[in-house]
């Protein structure tokens, strides 16, 4: 069934979009990632204009994270205090990101910047997670191996403005979570992602949060940052496509519920290794797009050069 999208101004297959939303929803529920880093490039490939894909992607992430947060709340796996600190940083980052996005669009370098950001962040995070979770998996197999200390003091613990995060069992400065939140908010605006693939590892490795609250708290922060991003994109560039979003959302929310059930059944290390492999695969795909000679060297954009 073909459907005409009012903002993207083209006709697409409705079932393809429902399926796409469903896959992203499953990932969202399993890993606590919004799935934006999969959906935005896929929307590009379907011929949706990048600006519409990014803004609508953010709207989709809102829906799948509401669904995800509710599932996590029932398990009491959300650290609200940490979530709010991350959110404060996130809103600042998102506002800067919206501005940079508009500026790079006029320069014609937004696609390159988005792709480079994907390659850089996905590559770094994927490699780090893969190495760590593989190590954890091997340690679990050998019971005699030394167990890492649960609590290590880094330079992070010497910063001022300390705060108690009871749900996470942490007493740390608010500066690192604020910065983490801001960079994720920035990426959310630029890449149309929730930023979970950055947030989850940052919480585990940088802030040292326990894995059980990481997924819920990251979803909580992502929910509000992407909500802000959606409204900002709608106001500044009118690029949120409601029809496109609705189709992806219907698929997405159903997928998210299925995904969170699968997530409970898998062990944390296995979950992380799967996520790492997926992140690396997307990274490789985008990197190849930048390195191989493209089929088409020319592109058309409406409007004049600045």
């Amino acid at each position: 069934m073909q459907l005409y999208l009012p903002i993207a101004e083209l006709s697409v297959n409705a079932f393809a979009l429902l399926g796409l939303g469903g896959i992203v929803g499953i990932l969202s529920g399993m890993f606590g990632v919004g799935g934006g880093f999969i959906i935005t490039p896929l929307l590009f490939f379907m011929g949706i204009p990048p600006a519409v894909a990014v803004a609508t992607g953010a709207n989709l992430v809102v829906a799948s994270s509401v669904s995800g947060v509710l599932a996590q709340l029932k398990r009491k796996a959300v650290d609200f205090r940490m979530g709010l600190v991350l959110l404060a940083g996130g809103l600042i980052g998102s506002a800067i990101g919206i501005w940079v996005f508009a500026w790079l669009t006029t320069l014609g370098q937004i696609d390159l910047f988005v792709q480079l950001s994907y390659v850089l962040f996905l590559g770094l995070v994927g490699a780090m997670m893969f190495k760590e979770s593989l190590g954890a998996l091997l340690r679990a197999r050998k019971p005699g191996a030394p167990i890492r200390r649960a609590h290590v003091h880094y330079a992070v613990h010497k910063l001022p403005l300390k705060m108690k995060f009871r749900a996470s069992g942490l007493y740390i400065s608010v500066i690192p979570p604020m910065l983490a939140g801001a960079s994720v908010g920035f990426l959310s605006a630029i890449m149309g992602v929730g930023g979970g693939f950055i947030m989850v590892p940052a919480m585990i490795y940088l802030l040292g949060m326990p894995t059980k609250v990481v997924v819920g708290t990251s979803l909580f922060q992502i929910l509000f940052v992407t909500a802000f991003t959606t409204v900002m994109h709608a106001v500044t560039s009118q690029t949120v496509d409601m029809v496109l979003a609705l189709l992806l959302i219907i698929g997405g929310v159903i997928g998210a519920q299925i995904g969170s059930k699968i997530g409970v059944k898998l062990r944390a290390e296995q979950l992380r290794i799967l996520l790492a492999l997926m992140v690396l695969a997307v990274c490789l795909r985008i990197a190849l797009g930048l390195l191989l000679t493209p089929d088409e060297l020319y592109s058309i954009a409406p409007g004049r050069l600045p």
Binding site: S67, V240, P302
Partner: protein, 259 residues
């Protein structure tokens, strides 16, 4: 008095010079299958039928055969064409050229190969072929090989069926009745589409005829589009509400299922 007459003559001259030589008095009578195209939710493109006849006072003259050319032109606007180049090992946009005016859609149908049906001078005057419908003044200042960008624009748009040249597709009966079918793609831009018809003999335009088709979004599409552009904040919040409601609804529904 003489001066005024001269002025009047000077004013009258250019118009009479523009009149095409039409000794046979052949004129076009034409119509369209639709003057209004509504883009609704299930819009997948549309087809317009341009039909008509050649009216003449005298019998069909001999000599060069009569040919018919039909063009459909969508709304025009400025465009930027960018080219990728390998820099530091990666492919990125480097050179760019601004095209001051190019139609979003352009289709030509003709009853004979265009080179036979229309002479070069007549093409320049009536802007019939695809390159002549694009205004690209001053692009040579922006890049050394500017024409390459123009070619790329036309090639890309032709690949997406936004620019269509279909020669020998206009059906012409007895040099009098004709019909042309033009397919409009699903990715139509809203606005006024100009339909032009030309009849030519020996490459010279004898008569032309113009019609307008309005392409508008309709129903839900219209409402969403208007809201997004006129009340962006409300639109953004509504999108958000939709997302939150869907997320919560699914969660609640699955909760019920589990019980």
């Amino acid at each position: 008095m003489i001066r005024i007459l001269l002025c009047l003559l000077a004013l009258a001259l250019p118009t009479s010079a523009q009149e095409a030589p039409n000794p046979t008095g052949e004129t076009i009578v034409a119509g369209l299958s639709q003057n209004l195209i509504a883009i609704t939710t299930n819009f997948t493109g549309s087809e317009i039928l341009i039909y008509g006849a050649v009216r003449r006072e005298q019998p069909i003259p001999g000599g060069a055969p009569l040919e018919v050319i039909a063009t459909v032109q969508g709304p025009s606007g400025p465009l930027t064409v960018r080219r990728k180049e390998r820099k530091f090992g990666i492919w990125m946009n480097t050179d760019a050229v601004t095209i001051s005016r190019a139609p979003t859609f352009y289709a030509i149908a003709s009853s004979a190969p265009l080179s036979e049906a229309l002479s070069e001078t007549e093409n320049l005057r009536h802007e019939v072929t695809i390159p002549s419908a694009i205004r690209a003044v001053g692009i040579s200042a922006e890049a050394e090989d500017a024409p390459v960008f123009l070619d790329a624009l036309i090639r890309l748009r032709r690949e997406q069926n936004n620019y269509v040249l279909s020669e020998k597709t206009v059906k012409l009966l007895e040099s009098t009745l004709f019909r042309a079918d033009v397919a409009l793609p699903a990715n139509l831009t809203e606005g006024e589409y100009r339909v032009r018809l030309f009849i030519t003999r020996d490459g010279v335009v004898i008569d032309k005829h113009e019609e307008i088709i309005s392409v508008n979004k309709d129903g839900l599409e219209r409402w969403i589009y208007n809201l997004a552009h006129e009340q962006p904040l409300i639109y953004g919040l509504l999108s958000l509400l939709l997302a939150v409601a869907a997320g919560w609804g699914a969660s609640a529904a699955f909760g019920l299922l589990r019980r």
